[in-house]
Symmetry: C2
Amino acid sequence: MEIQLQIKMNEKLFLRDPEQSELGKKIILHSIQLIHLNGFEAFTFKKLAEAIGTTEAGIYRYFENKHRLLMYITAWYWSWLEYRVAFHTHNIKDPVVKLKMVIKLLATTVEDDSRTSYVDESILHQIIITEGSKAYLTKRVSEDNKDHLFKPYKDLCAVIGNMILECNPQYKYPKSLASTIIEMAHFQNFFMNNLPSLTDFGKNKDEAEIVRFLETLVFSSLHSAH
Amino acid sequence: MEIQLQIKMNEKLFLRDPEQSELGKKIILHSIQLIHLNGFEAFTFKKLAEAIGTTEAGIYRYFENKHRLLMYITAWYWSWLEYRVAFHTHNIKDPVVKLKMVIKLLATTVEDDSRTSYVDESILHQIIITEGSKAYLTKRVSEDNKDHLFKPYKDLCAVIGNMILECNPQYKYPKSLASTIIEMAHFQNFFMNNLPSLTDFGKNKDEAEIVRFLETLVFSSLHSAH
DNA sequence: TTGTAAATGATAGTAACACTATCTTTGCAA
DNA sequence: TTGCAAAGATAGTGTTACTATCATTTACAA
């Protein structure tokens, strides 16, 4: 049984849909690899074009600029994660169990999903950790937000926020707690690997510890009488 | 009584110490303003030189490149904040009260400190929220870390981590909780103002609510039996 | 089979950016 | 007054971030 997973992306993220052509898929595949290799700052369309075997102009037909490409990639990631969350929490009734699953999905290394041939999810996860927040930490956030370019992130946050409310309908900050879980799942991972003294996981560098930290953080908030 | 506040900076952050000359101080003052105005990506040494009334070459005598200048500014901010934390928690014995003070200092708009003539702290606070994490979200983190360029941030984190342990010596993740407080104080502020649906503060846009959110987050963790 | 349009390839060019080099002037101190 | 560091002035280089144009291939439809 061969299933293809296709994610519908906001059309404002691209000039030409990269999923609709070989060149487009190559752009996604190689940009993820190159950003992972050199970091987003050193990543250029010229290098990307060389890696693919096309020219700069070819890339520009798909993406306005490299920041838009980053936004596309991050949006894709959050959409894919929301799908995974839906899949893995399906049929689970206990909201606590669901929330634990979400934390695990967020904070644990992912394996490449063979149903998406042109995206390597394990590398993607790595670059979202380091580069993901650069998608919105700009002067253009509000404009981009009006074009709904961050919708996948916000949707995921809303899903998690609702689970939090299921756990404790009285809890006052479901959305902020949700965005905290999302961001910290990534930042604690980055710190663990790069600035370990900002975490308590430096010795073992074990993602499972991040999961435990987030679980205590979340569930003591939700169970407390505040 | 006129007191000057001087912060000793790591010498690897600059080529020539900006605090030791008029031009240097102008570079700091105007770079903060320009980054605040246009964002870090659009900020260039040429624009900075024009704003100051000098040339690009003049700036390059002080800072290797604009990323180093950002690192200098953020390091300065964290040092200043650590000083403020020390000042405002001095003579307070109750660690819970101390920790609440820290959260307030982190999450609340600061006023310009008149003892530092060449730094406008209220603008500085704003740019650290948006640009601060770009100082370390790079491929060079580990190298830069070896040169101790993030020491002020790590020191602050350690100070907060110790307060956390004072509150509850059994708590397992003092450093991760500390870095979570620091990052979330800023990110929730950014989200509140730019992507409000990621928070529960969108309506009032009131920093006091961020403080309350962080307090419940922190103290339910510290008081719980986990 | 040919016609047509879309996608791609190939090449060129521009303005801005990120530097580096060099030479001159200024200020101030021994 | 000489000497030296800081700053000013000017120029230049390679790269980046795009835009434009025209030729070639492909795909499918008449």
